[in-house]
Amino acid sequence: MQEIAAQRYDPSAAQAVLAWRQLLDDLQQGGHSVEDRLARVNAFFNARIRFDDDIAVWRTADYWATPLETLARAAGDCEDFAIAKYMTLRLLGVDDSRLRLIYVRARIGGPGSQVSQAHMVLGYYPEPSAEPLILDNLIRDVRPAARRPDLFPVFSFNADGLWVAGARQSSADPGTRLSRWRDVLDRAHAEGLALPGRQP
């Protein structure tokens, strides 16, 4: 991945990838609690990646970037944060069933404001029926959902059911390109990011 970054982008991109690899290596060592990992991953991306609209970064109205693309550009919008964090946590061994990418309606400008915006965050469910921890690029901390009164969940998804055991790689399936979610997963896979539980 580092090589791809060096080939496609400038040295700073390669460095960003190196830093990300170091984070992964560090967190894969024993002794880190899940909460610790969540916090470190959240902090890593929130600190490194500048928030910007897709139109500014990718010159497209809506573009779902892979973690490599996000790291290389050092910029992204809310989905790019959520995707990068989701994939990083999956690489660290967090089970897919505990993670959800959640579409939320975010109220901006304090509790009384009527202005709201479409937003995406990553939710972590310690137990299936528990309240999730929210990884958001708008705030630095990882907080339980109850402490995020500004967010209203709408819909969530993960990679469950996208790949059936034994089925062919989904990128061979032309239907893949029609779904942004499956598209980004495939592109990340092509860039060398192999999520556990997914076919080679």
Partner: protein, 663 residues
């Protein structure tokens, strides 16, 4: 000369299945076409069915996924009480086409479920097992606020997919069957067109293999054309060679057998012709002989000079040659310087009257140049089986009495009166004999040079008025009464029976009369009878007289083709005299030629005829004909013939004296 096979079915069979091991070219091409068609259509059939299945699988998977997502999205927004959840799932299931919609809570417990249990697809089960459509369920998460509510699993019913795949497969199959059939038909048609010239080439090659040197029109296909051109050139070369050879043969024959001055037969050859005529046993047996003598030739020579007399004799000979007589065969000879003779074989009744007129005309003709010439004429009738010397003695007697009486033309009395004198009486007698089955066949062996029997000549005989009569006695009358073809038919039937009943018999040769040869119905009857006796056909030899074959060339050609296809042997009888007139002998497919006794008589003392017979043998062998000598009368003749390249001989003088066996 282009020639259509009389049995196209046979040549077809030959081309298409020679035997099991050597498969014909056409069969191989046809198999290749069939195989290619099957492969291409079968292959594309399988590919299109599989790609249709792949497409259906993808569509189903996408539909599952999208429907799961949209249902999960709407459920996430709705109240999560049991009734609402149940209702939403039921509404989606009942309005849509699903096999299963199931909602499970995060712990894996089923919250709500709808599953289709009803009729299955109309596609047969074997088809579904053969081409399974593996659909992937669509999975989406239902959210209740921040809480996970459950996982939704949606599976579309695959029944419609199977049905549509089954229908489209069936349609494809029909199309492909139709297309394959059409291609097969087109291929067969094209092959037929392409290989039609090949049939011609094969037929020609096989004909040449049997030494039947035919030419055929050049086909348009380039490769076949060069083959046919080569074969045609070969045939043409053989034909040219044959024409040249027979011309020189004819020249040789004229030198040997003809009088130098007048071009008529010389004395020895005329007597040979007479002997052969007397020994005939067919419809042309019997006839008349006419002799013209200039009594004062020596005196004329002195007075008019040799040259003048010679010129008059040449004119006389020319006039004699052009006598219009209704007879099967006329031979003209100069017996000595002052004697001329006319041999009338197979005559009609009233030739004696014509001879009177002829004598008058000849006398006038000669006296125009030689006013003092004295001409005397005599004629005598002969019948089959007479011998030469008494006949000539009778003629001499008649001439002597003419000289005494001063009559210009005297007719000698018949040696033996015929059995019946009127044609009606003969017709009745012959018809009765045929109806009573009083018909038999002789057997005279025809031997090869080693003394083995090649076949038996089997001339017919009839029992008339209690006596067995040889063919020469009654056949001329039968021919006159129009019964010759009927006798031929009965002879053929008897020969077939004999051969079928006597497997040890090497072969029988029967005679086919000119009448039967020229008559379409009789010819067809003849061929049909042989077709019914295919097994004995190879042992049957059919003799046709050289003169008959020359008189009916087209019919003879057709007979050759038909009998050749049946395996019969066909050959010329009493041959040699007109050998040079067979322009197309090379492509007839004849098997043998029997040389007339007129060549064989006294051959041990006639070097000219020896050369002739040797040349005929060489020529005939070059086109695959066997040569058999007829009427060998003495052992000396037989031993002279042995050195001339003959294949066989027959006659009363052979070492193994002929046994007369009644068949």
């Amino acid at each position: 000369m282009p020639k259509a096979s009389p049995f196209p079915a046979d040549s077809h069979d030959r081309l298409f299945s020679r035997n099991h091991r050597t498969m014909s070219l056409i069969k191989q091409l046809w198999l290749a076409t069939a195989l290619l068609t099957t492969l291409s259509f079968g292959g594309s059939f399988i590919v299109s069915t599989l790609s249709a299945r792949h497409y259906l699988q993808q569509e189903l998977a996408l539909k599952n996924m999208d429907n799961a997502t949209s249902l999960a999205l709407s459920m996430s927004q709705m109240p999560k009480d049991e009734v609402s959840v149940e209702l939403q799932i039921a509404a989606q299931f009942d309005a849509g086409h699903y096999r299963l919609i199931r909602l499970t809570d995060p712990a894996g417990k089923v919250l709500a479920e709808r599953e289709f249990s009803g009729e299955t697809a109309s596609a047969p089960r074997w088809f579904m097992t053969l081409v399974p459509i593996g659909t992937r369920a669509g999975i989406a998460q239902v959210q209740d606020g921040w809480q996970q509510f459950g996982t939704l699993q949606v599976e579309t019913h695959d029944r419609y997919a199977y049905d549509s795949l089954w229908t489209s497969t069936q349609q494809l199959l029909w199309w492909f069957l139709g297309g394959g059939l059409l291609t097969g038909l087109l291929g067969t048609f094209t092959l037929k067109r392409l290989t039609r010239p090949l049939e011609g080439v094969v037929e020609q090659a096989e004909a040449i293999g049997k030494r039947r040197f035919i030419t055929i029109p050049e086909p348009r296909t380039l490769e076949f054309r060069s083959v046919v051109r080569a074969l045609n050139t070969l045939s043409e070369r053989i034909r040219t060679m044959l024409v040249q050879e027979s011309q020189s043969l004819e020249q040789l024959r004229r030198q040997t057998q003809h009088d130098e001055l007048t071009g008529l037969f010389n004395r020895p050859q005329f007597l040979n012709q007479l002997d052969a005529a007397l020994s005939r046993d067919d419809a042309q047996a019997g006839g008349s002989i006419y002799v013209l003598r200039i009594t004062n030739l020596a005196e004329l020579n002195r007075h008019a000079g040799r040259a003048g007399v010679d010129a008059a004799l040449v004119r006389l000979a020319a006039a004699l040659r052009t006598v219009p007589l209704p007879a099967a065969r006329l031979d003209h000879g100069r017996l000595n310087a002052s004697e001329f003779a006319l041999l009338i074989q197979g005559e009609d009744e009233d030739s004696l009257g014509v001879l009177d007129t002829l004598t008058g005309r000849l006398r006038t003709l000669v006296r125009e140049q030689l006013p003092d010439a004295e001409l005397l004429a005599a004629s005598a009738r002969y019948t089959a089986g007479e011998t030469r010397a008494p006949l000539l003695a009778r003629l001499d007697g008649a001439l002597a009495s003419a000289e005494q009486s001063g009559a210009s033309h005297t007719v000698a009395a018949d040696a033996q009166p015929p059995l019946h004198t009127s044609a009606d009486a003969w017709r009745q007698a012959i018809t009765e004999a045929l109806e009573h089955g009083d018909l038999g066949l002789h057997r005279f062996p025809v031997l090869d040079m080693a003394g083995r029997v090649i076949h038996y000549e089997s001339p017919v005989r009839l029992r008339l008025a209690g006596n067995w009569l040889d063919a020469g006695r009654f056949l001329p009358w039968a021919a006159r009464c129009g019964l010759a073809a009927r006798i031929d038919a009965q002879v053929l039937a008897t020969a077939c029976e004999t051969l079928a009943g006597d497997p040890a018999c090497t072969g029988l040769a029967i005679n086919l009369s000119a009448e039967a040869l020229g008559h379409t119905g009789m010819r067809e009857h003849f061929i049909a009878t042989l077709q019914a006796h295919r097994r004995i056909a190879p042992r049957l030899w059919v003799d046709v007289q050289e003169s008959s074959a020359l008189r009916h060339p087209t019919e003879f050609r057709m007979l050759c083709a038909a009998l050749g296809a049946l395996g019969c042997k066909l050959g010329l009888k009493h041959g040699g005299q007109d050998f040079a007139r067979f322009a197309e002998l090379h492509d007839l497919g004849l098997d043998y030629i029997k040389i007339s006794a007129a060549f064989v008589r006294d051959i041990d003392r006639t070097p000219g005829n020896q050369t002739l017979v040797r040349s005929i043998c060489t020529l005939a062998h070059s086109i695959g004909l066997k040569v058999i000598a007829e009427g060998v009368g003495t052992l000396d003749e037989a031993s002279a013939l042995a050195g001339l390249g003959l294949d066989g001989m027959t006659g009363p003088g052979l070492p193994a004296s002929p046994r007369r066996i009644v068949a």
